[in-house]
Symmetry: D2
Subunit: 342 residues, 4 copies
């Protein structure tokens, strides 16, 4: 089989390491370059000792990459940096961008949430939003895909079909979301120390989290009119996993039946039996998303609970799923990991 | 100072141990008896080695207690058992009951949530609901106080004044609550094993948790008409702490100002500056409850976040606060522990 | 490729679930039967929801297994039960036993450590001890293999070559070992509750752990004379991973060079550069064992640190490694999982 | 009662916060000043929200402290900085120093372990080593006390009496120590992130940890001749607690009897019944040290296990214990906290 040679830009973060973990066992992808500007020159095994068992290229700067040996790019760079890097890549390269830089279609929305003008608005127009369960066909033909954010994927996967089918009131959506600490990345910040995260729980960016722009965009498209959902992120004392508890005005049994049918053939989305709810530990390390639907006590109200692993289906796994589509590979290739429990 | 001699019934559970921890340093309470039917004959230090530094009476059965040496009782027994035990106690004893047995004023509501008839409905009528911030005067004169449940206290402390003042729509209340594992008690259950709780998160008893009856009762009293809130409990991979994220239709600044004024003189309830939110780790081991109020993005919607330590302000600390009131002691006596962090 | 049909006896424990996780993606093994006497009739997905994405046979009793459709057996049953079950299996079946029942070659040692006579001493003589790095050739021809215990594998992998080569004093061996909580299994015991394990650490079975019999046996064989090592197990507040810190009288540089050479071609054992030490998180979910060697401050003393995942290389992964050898498959088949971090 | 007014230098670290927690409820100490050079101007409640319930002076620089209102000083500054700060304090102030700067009596040893000359060797000679169970009388008369390190206190408390009494071979001491993450402080380092510490375990500074100089010094004094023990620190995925497993050549029953007698009247050191071992969770948040003694399997060998809370008996609690002695107060004043479990 011909191997597609990929570069991972920003390989020294957790999503970079997770891309390496998954691609190392992917039958059609081969890692040709790994970049990490501040750690250039180091071996990946020095930065991530759990990857020492793999035979990997050394970390380099982006400038040092020999693009002639690269067919596709996973970009796991920080926000804002990304725009220029991707604009500067050879046009023949397929790109999956894991940052938030190209997720918002409207440059005004980008400015609102990120506080500065988007530098590559023309390029933005070519980008396809990377939630494969809803944009599969566009992704197949895309050159650049903006991989959906982790919180966003967790919330949107059940909500898009519900709103599209008009099964819930778009003005009455409360998304209470909880994420493991790996979502905060590997930067050395006091707030993310073990001592500051373990044995405790808190909300953050209440009513102000940047992922909201992305949620607004997709829910509004699904509902066919502007939607502004309540969304509150919380930090869990665990490494991996996001769980979103979503409160809706709508009939639970109808919603359950619709989701079950909608996702019946999706390889990575599973609707549990009516009344059952999932746990983050049931998807750890895998690319699966589980959804539970329960009728609330008040007639006409529904609670939907969705879970995924923020580093896999919420980031690197989904990025590979998108790349598989872009390359014409079976969508599940290299993503068959069974969840790790306990 | 005259010491009040107390018996702790059900001392082998976590709330029992927490009562011992707090009472051991209480200047006016003295532990006269500790019961644990299945562990009778053992030393408390064998059941809870962290208490070995204290000089404590041995565990006995309830039948073995010499009531002549007892002035007051903390009852930390399981649900249903409790009714008969309390009915059988000498009438002169002050009792704080930490179980759910006497919290619901309406025997029909009890039957609905607990699946069987209440056995002591006459006694129920004498019981005062034990949330001191709202029932202080009645508690002072009570013989039996039904200590508020841990989830319930977390949710009610901010919500009662909001509903009383008509500052939020009673038909639009979503309480998303998260609790540490000590709330599940010390019973040996597979679901509570370290391997089943750590590195993961899930909701449970969705739309069916028994604490809802208690929430309904108190919110309805506060609103002056029936209220049925959405309430979803989740299990956190941490020992202590409850956080409730409550979504309301109401003006955030008005709600914040009202709560700040309402709790200004409360020793254990603290409203944070507008827009700030609390973490469970900020109250660990203490009897404090912290409340944050934030305006949601949609005009006219508010997010209220409240935290407490489920074993202290949510159980044993509050029980002592109630007992202090019943005994005419300053309410904060023995409850001045500074939170333990990290 | 012809698939070998396997039965997993005792599939409702953690090692059973881990066997399923690994075998589900093994290209030459196929799960034909899953047994769990007390949970017979249930779906594996009910017992382990993280496995719901797999298409698995239902749990049955051992008696219900149709052996005609089975080629090989993984036995993950409790100690003592196992002896009779294995004795009753059709002789044509290859068996890897994950229990301790057949690990001790000497029936007297078995009696000493387990407190009763071994019931199948004749069968014991046919069994090969299942540490593939040292008994590869015998395992290839074996019908029954006794899979090495998790603590034991962690300690023995570095120690056997050191003692065989006479590089350390056999009378001066201190093994201080620490294990994650999954090593205690899934039985509902108070001592293994989240609240009893998290945020704390302790030693257990000090100077009395049953794995010592196995350590004695193998170290004595390696040294060519009786060896009694110090061995203390401790319980870590984490799910997976064992780390053994071993103190030796011997020259560190010589020991390091010998181990590096001895394991140079082993697919699952890796000796780190001299002076570097491993962490359990670097092998999580994988079949790898990492070894670090450091010179102690006192001349002539050495500290050896070894880590593995107790459920993989310490149990189910190693069992598959043994089975691969017994079936003539490449030893690494189905065991290429990259460690999961964070 | 006259209150002694204390300044806490370096109040923005964990030991600083822990001093505040304990002193806030100490009946004879009053906090007059809190310093934190980089956070000067902030409220302590902004730096440590769990302390918001206390009425505390604002953080200032050390230069801003009005020494006329200060009677005694707790110095919780980083290594090396401390020497000059303490040398510059008014001579009338009693000082307990929690850093390592004055613990080593021999300037050469200091240079060896810390890599540079000690700047205040004259002052060093006036300092008393602050392990109250062994230096109580000297501490009472001291102006400056060097508070023992957390690992060191855990190891030394049982070992000093054993070596003094000649009950173990000084050439055969292996101390395998494990610490919670709060021991690493609050500095924002990648290695201390939640994601890097949780669900894993590793040794660090193997054969090279700076606390060894302190251990050597005290064990040599106890044995009356040079002692070099093996000492390996490990990082536990928990906030608080140190456990040291110490392997000795000596008779366990004699050692146990001697320790039990030696510590019978000590308020904070408790020897468990022969054969029992302690857990770190049994001392969480308290100033207690628990010791267990077990006979190893080899005749004439003993395993001693000691635990304490690194932030209390290993740092701030012990500092207050020392200060109590220096001020002529009962040694246990303000240190009666019962351990917090779970």
């Amino acid at each position: 089989m011909t191997m597609t040679k990929v570069a991972i830009l920003g390989a020294s973060g957790y999503t970079g390491a997770e891309l390496v973990r998954l691609i190392a066992r992917h039958p059609s992808l081969q890692i040709a370059a790994l970049t990490a500007d501040r750690k250039a020159g180091q071996a990946m095994a020095d930065v991530f000792p759990h990857l020492a068992i793999l035979d990997l290229p050394p970390l380099t700067t982006i400038d040092e990459v020999d693009w002639s040996g690269v067919d596709a790019v996973f970009c796991a760079l920080p926000h804002a940096t990304t725009q220029k890097v991707i604009a500067g890549l050879p046009e023949r390269l397929k790109v999956v961008d894991l940052s938030a830089d190209f997720r918002l279609e409207d440059p005004e929305a980008y400015k609102t949430w990120y506080g500065h003008e988007h530098a590559e608005t023309a390029l933005q127009k070519q980008v396809v939003y990377g939630l494969p369960e809803f944009y599969r066909d566009s992704i197949k033909g895309a050159r650049i895909v903006a991989n959906t954010g982790c919180y966003v994927a967790t919330a949107l996967i059940p909500l898009i079909p519900i709103l599209k089918a008009g099964l819930a009131d778009p003005d009455w959506i409360v998304i209470d979301a909880k994420s493991g600490a790996s979502g905060a990345g590997r930067a050395a910040k006091e707030a993310n120390l073990f001592t500051e995260v373990s044995e405790g729980f808190h909300a953050y960016s209440v009513a102000g989290h940047r992922h909201m722009g992305e949620i607004d965009q997709e829910l509004s498209k699904a509902a066919g009119r502007p939607v502004v959902a309540s969304f509150t992120p919380h930090l869990l004392p665990q490494n991996r996993g996001i769980l979103a508890t979503t409160y809706l005005k709508g009939e639970a049994d109808t919603i359950h039946a619709h989701l079950a049918e909608r996702f019946a053939d999706e390889p990575f989305v599973h609707v549990l039996p009516y009344g059952k709810v999932p746990a983050t530990r049931h998807v750890r390390g895998s690319n699966h998303c589980l959804i539970g639907v329960v009728a609330d006590r008040q007639p006409g109200r529904t609670i939907v609970i969705s879970v995924l692993d923020n580093l896999v289906k919420g980031a690197s796994g989904q990025a590979i799923q998108n790349m598989n589509l872009m390359l014409g590979l079976p969508e599940t290739t290299g993503l068959e990991q069974v969840p790790l429990f306990p």
